[in-house]
Amino acid sequence: MSTEHTATGLIGAPIRRVEDPVLVTGKGCYVDDIHLPGMLHLAVLLSPHPHAKIVSIDTSAARAIPGVRSVLTGADISERVNIPAPMVVPGMKIPPHPPLARGAVHAAGTPVAAVVAQSRALAQDAANAIEVEYESLPAVTDAEKALEPGAPLARTELDNNVCFLSTKTNGDVEKAFAQADHICRMHIASPRLVAMAIEPRGAVAKPEPAGDLTMWLSTQAPHRARADLATALGFPEHRIRVIAPDVGGGFGSKGPLYREYVLAAYLALKLGRPVKWIATRSEDFVGVIQGRDQAMTSELALKKDGTMLGLKARVVANLGAYLYANTTTPTQRMMGMAPGCYQIQNVHVEVAAVFTNTVPTGPYRGAGRPEAVLNIERLVDKAARELGIDPLEIRRKNFIRPEQFPYRTGVNVEYDSGDYEKSLSEALRLSDYQELIRYRDEARERGELVGVGVSTFVEPSGGAGFESGTVRVERSGEFTILTGSSSHGQGHETVYAQVAAEKLRVSMDQVAIRHGDTLAIQQGVGTFASRSAVTGGGAMVIAIDRVVEKARRIAGHLLEAAAEDIVQADGGFAVAGVPGKAVTWRQLAAAAYGGRLPRGMEPGLQETAFFDPKRDAWAFGSHVALVRIDRETGRLAIEKLVLVDDCGVILNPLIVEGQIHGGLAQALGEILGEHMIFGDEGEVLTGSLMNYAVPRASDMPPLIVGETVTPNPFNPLGVKGVGEAATNGAPAVVANAVMDALAPLGIDHIDMPYTAPKLWAAIREAEAKRKG
C-alpha cells in the first residue's frame, strides 16, 4: 500500500515523485522539444579569441546561403541593448555587456554574429561562413596576476582590472593578532568549474499577434528572466511571458539571462517569426557562467591551546570578462561565511573582484560557500597540525555552542540555530573514527599514504528576498497551488504537494502544483541557493493558513457554529465535539463561489502570500573522509566518506538523499579532476567533455549518509536548505584527508583538483627533497 493517498504523515515520508511517470517515458518537454509552426533557427558565431579587436566582419557568404533569413553583428543592435547587471557593491564597475560584441571581444566564447535560417543545420553552416578578422590584444586570465602592476587590461575601457573591493571588519583584529601565540598562514585556490547541466541552454522566442512576446527558456528563474529581458530590450515587461518548461538541471548556471536568449527574442520580434536557439555542449563550455575560481590568502591567530583569536582573509575572485546579474553572488557568499562554525569575533575579510579575459563566472552549486568552507576548514586543520593539537579538539574548542544561538558572527550575520558538536559526534560515530585512525596509522607505518580528514561547516540557504505562493481552491474542492519557485529536478511537484496535502488534510492527488510560467504565476523569484523549501515552502504554507482561516469561517457559517468551534478534519472541517457535523472542501468551495458566505465576506477561496525570511537558514554538517594515495601513480582513492547533514525538518528523505548524492558527485568532480583551464594566452584548453572530467558512475566512493535534525525557528516549516550540502563540505573534507595522507612527506598544501599527475609530481618532489 503506498502512503500517497493518506492525508497525514505526508511531511517527512519518502514519497515517490509525482514528476516521474512523465519523465521516465520520454514525455517530458524541454525547450528543444518545442516545435512551433513557421519556426526559424538561430546560430551564434562565438569568438575563439580571449581578447581581440574586431577589425572586420564579412557576412556576405552567409547571407548568400539560401534559407538564411537574417544575419546580425554587434553594429546592427542598439548600444542600449545590454545584459543587465545590478550595482551589488556601491561604485562597482559595470562595463557594457552587449548580446553581440561591439568592436572587441574580451573572452573566448563571446558572441560575434547571429544567423537565423530555416533549419538548425543551415543556420550553423551560415554562421561558419562568416569571416571575422581579429587583431589580438594581450590577455590576462589569472585573477591574482590581473592585479599585478602592468598586467594587461581585461576590459580596455577601464583603467585597471578591479571591478570592486569590499571589506568586512569586526572587533579588534590587530590586537587579536598581536596577542596571538601562533599565526597560521595559508594560500588556497579553488579550481574553476563548469556546471554542466546535461541539458544545454536553450530558448524559443515567439512574437504574439498583438505585439506580445512569449519565451520558453531553460531557466531557473522565469520571473527574473522576464524582468531582465524587458530591461535588456527596452520591451514592456507586462507584455512578456516567460515559460520554464522541463529544465534539465541548472545548479546555478541557468540563473542568468544569456546573450543568446536576448538575441532569440530580438530576432523573433524583428522577423515576426518564432526563433529557436539551442546551445551545443561546446557552446555551453564557453557560454555558461562558470563556478569557483577564488584564491584565498588567510591568517588565523591562535593561542597555544588552539583558541582562535582572529581571522584575516583576502579573497581574489575571478569574475571573467563580463557581468551577469548574479556574477558577484559568490563573492558575497564567501564573505558572509568566512569564520565558518567557529567563535571568531575579530575578523577582517576583503574581496577583490577582478575582471579577466575568461568566461564570466557566477553561482555554481555552492556559489562561494565551497570556497569559504575549504578556506576555513583547511586553515583550521593546518593550524592544528602546526600547534600539535588534534583536529577534533581544535574544532570542539572553538565551535559556536548550541546555547549561543541565534549567534551573530564576526562578519555580522546571524546564524539561526545549530549543534555542531552533535553533528561532528554523529559523523565520527558513523565513520568509526577511532578505527579509521588506527587503520591510517598502521598503513603509515608500512609507508603507505593514507589520510583521515574531518570538516564541520555551515551552509546558508534561502536568501535573495521573497518567494510567493498562491493556493486556489477550485469549484470542485480540489487545489491548484502556484509557486514562484520553479523546478529543474528538485521535485517541487512532489514536495510541495506533500506539505500542502498534509496541511489541508486532503490526499496528494487533490493538489496540483504549478510553476514556471509568468502568465499563470504571481510574481516570483526562482529556484537557487537551496531556497525552495525555505522560502517557497514558507510562502505556500502562509497562503495555506490563510485559505484554511477563510474556509473555517465559511464552515462556521454553513454549520451554524462559531468559527472557534470549527476544526480541520480529513477532507474539510467539522464542529469540534459534534460527530457528523462536517463540511467538505467541495461544499466550502460551492459556498465561496456561490454566494453562501458570512455577511461582508468577499467571494472566492484563494489566497496569495509573499514570504521573505529576511535571513538565511543556516544548515550545517560534518563530513569524515578516509583516502589513500598510490605512492607510485599518485592516484587518489576515497575509501570511505561519511556525510552528516542537518537541514532542519526533513520533508522528503528520498529527495534530501538525492540532493546530497548529486551534490557529492559534483564535489567529487572538483576533488578528482574537473578544472576549466585557460592557457597563458587565454585560450580555452578544456572546452569539451573530452578534456573536462565529469564524474561517471564508477567514480562514486563508498558513502554513508547520516543526519541530525535541528529545526529552524525562523520559517513556517522549520526547514533549511540541503541542495548544496555536499558540494560545500566534501571538497574540504577530502582536502583535509589528502593533506593528512601527504603530511609524512612534509607536503602541507596542494590545490584541487587532485589529479594523479599532480599528486605524483608533488610526491616525487617531496621524496627528492628528503633524500637530497
Binding site: R16, R17, E19, D20, P21, L23, V24, T25, G26, K27, G28, C29, Y30, D32, D33, H35, A61, A64, I65, P66, R120, A121, D125, N128, A129, A195, M196, A197, I198, E199, P200, D246, G248, G249, I278, R281, S282, H488, G489, Q490, G491, L654, I655, E657, G658, I660, H661, G662, G663, L664, A665, Q666, S688, L689, M690, V694, R696, A697, S698, M700
Partner: protein, 168 residues
C-alpha cells in the same frame, strides 16, 4: 563556401517502435535529429557534441547505441526502439518503474538514455553486480543524482525482471 548548395537527400526505411517509416534525409543528418525532428520522438535527448553523455541512447536491432554517433542513413533497414516505445502506452517497463521507485532521476534529462542503457544491460545480464552496473553506465552522464539511486533503480528492476521471469 558560398552560393547555392545542392541539398541531396537519400531515401531510408526504418522501423521505429514497431512503426515503419520511409523518409528522405540529408546524408549528414544524425539519427538523433531524425528521431527528434522528423518523427517527433523527443524523448531521446541531446546533451553533448562529442558522443560522451549518452542522453541520446536508443536501441538499434536490440543493442544500446548513442544515436548522435549514427547517421540517419545508417539506420536504413534497422529496427529502432526509443524510450517512447519501451513499454505499451500507460504501462512502465520494470526499469522505468525502478527509476521511479528508487528516485533514480531528478531533472530527467539523462534519464531516457540511462534507461535504454540499463534495459540493454539487463537483457544481456539478468543479475549484474553493482560493479557491472556502474561499468555499463560508463557512457552515460548524470549531473543530478550522483548515480547512487540509478544503480539502486537498476538493481530493483533486475530483481523485478528475474522474479517475473520465474513466475511466468
Amino acid at each position: 563556401m558560398s552560393g547555392k548548395m545542392e541539398r541531396v537527400t537519400v531515401p531510408i526505411n526504418v522501423t521505429v517502435n514497431g512503426v515503419k517509416h520511409e523518409a528522405e534525409v540529408e546524408p549528414r543528418l544524425l539519427l538523433v535529429y531524425f528521431l527528434r525532428e522528423h518523427l517527433g520522438l523527443t524523448g531521446t535527448h541531446v546533451g553533448c557534441d562529442t558522443s560522451q553523455c549518452g542522453a541520446c541512447t536508443i536501441h538499434m536491432n536490440g543493442r544500446a547505441v548513442k544515436s548522435c554517433t549514427v547517421l540517419a542513413v545508417q539506420a536504413d533497414g534497422v529496427k529502432i526502439t526509443t524510450i517512447e516505445g519501451l513499454a505499451p502506452e500507460g504501462t512502465l517497463h520494470p526499469v522505468q518503474e525502478g527509476f521511479r521507485e528508487k528516485h533514480g532521476l531528478q531533472c530527467g534529462y539523462c534519464t531516457p538514455g540511462m534507461i535504454m542503457t540499463a534495459v540493454h544491460l539487463l537483457e544481456t545480464n539478468s543479475s549484474p553486480t553493482e560493479e557491472e552496473i556502474r561499468h555499463a553506465l560508463e557512457g552515460n552522464l548524470c549531473r543530478c543524482t550522483g548515480y547512487i539511486h540509478i544503480v539502486e533503480a537498476i538493481q530493483w528492476a533486475a530483481q523485478r525482471m528475474r522474479s517475473s521471469h520465474v513466475s511466468s
